[in-house]
Symmetry: C2
Subunit: 215 residues, 2 copies
Amino acid sequence: MATNRQRKTRADGERTRRAILHEAVRLATLDGLEGLSIGNLADALGMSKSGLYAHFGSKEELQLAVIDEAGGIFRAEVIDPAIAAPPGLGQLVAVCDAFFDHLKRRTLPGGCFFAGAILEMGTRPGRVRERVSAFQADFLRLLRSFAAAALDREELPADEDPELLAFELNGIILAANARFVLSDGADGLGVARTATRRRLGLASDARAAATWDSV
Amino acid sequence: MATNRQRKTRADGERTRRAILHEAVRLATLDGLEGLSIGNLADALGMSKSGLYAHFGSKEELQLAVIDEAGGIFRAEVIDPAIAAPPGLGQLVAVCDAFFDHLKRRTLPGGCFFAGAILEMGTRPGRVRERVSAFQADFLRLLRSFAAAALDREELPADEDPELLAFELNGIILAANARFVLSDGADGLGVARTATRRRLGLASDARAAATWDSV
């Protein structure tokens, strides 16, 4: 049986590991997953390299742990609020709005971790690429399931295609992220919110709804 | 007056410089603009580092020259075919289709140079970021001008907003690029072509038009 002291040490170790990973996700949105080295991370955290090696045996292990941590942040900030919204059309609006809020909140300084990781790692075969790719596939599957629910509830036109809709909403999300990164967040995300609503048939007059930079 | 020999030497120098830059653009779509070093490029080309330094005095000068070369490729493969198309709606379809052809042709192994460069350099203030940002701003301005022409020609609904439309088409382009990079090009770009036509009111039944992966 573990003593109180052993349990406390394990809990401290887990807290330290999570703090390291959170900083690593932040750094990865600025320098990329390949730009992330145990040396750079040790500098950013004021820790020794050997201390970091005790947590992550290799650069690949660090990258995989960073992807999982980034996935946890994305789930908490984007997916969970959407799942809590009214099924169907409500969840489609909520998942996009939660993504725009995730950008606006600046949880990560370089915008969406996964948008960058897809382009950086997509052409590098290996476990890191597979982990990133699986996360993106799960996200697109979630968008399609929300769209299918909206169709079942007759909240979308009967000839709507869940795969096409998921593809286009993902595009609005990627365009919002690119705009956010280039504008250093100064630009409003209102155009992205307007585009989302127009695509979902929730704004009949796009021009009237486009009070963009106030959002 | 330059002798024939001097003119020939200058022409050879220019050809060498362009060959170097074309390889550098290709490498940058795999390793990023920051991953591009005079050392790596010398290895890829089988040239000496000192030979490359004679062409580009610093990493920043190399990066700026690479962005200009990538801009030339993008203009030749995406913008010029669009400008040659019938004004208005014809140009909007043509610019998106030319982009999908640019991916499919695999001119660059890592997909769209600018999609990657925006996310990589967007948070790094400096001349490289400004050059990338200016190119993206020009491209969005071109999309808006095509949309405005289509509105003038009454090819789009009167309440259409050129800025919103440009934002959404850019999103379809970015989603197509992400899909292309992750699927290693195996996946068809048909969903992107269908999304473009649906957005422009050219396909009334999205499902019927979605013969995606045959395209």
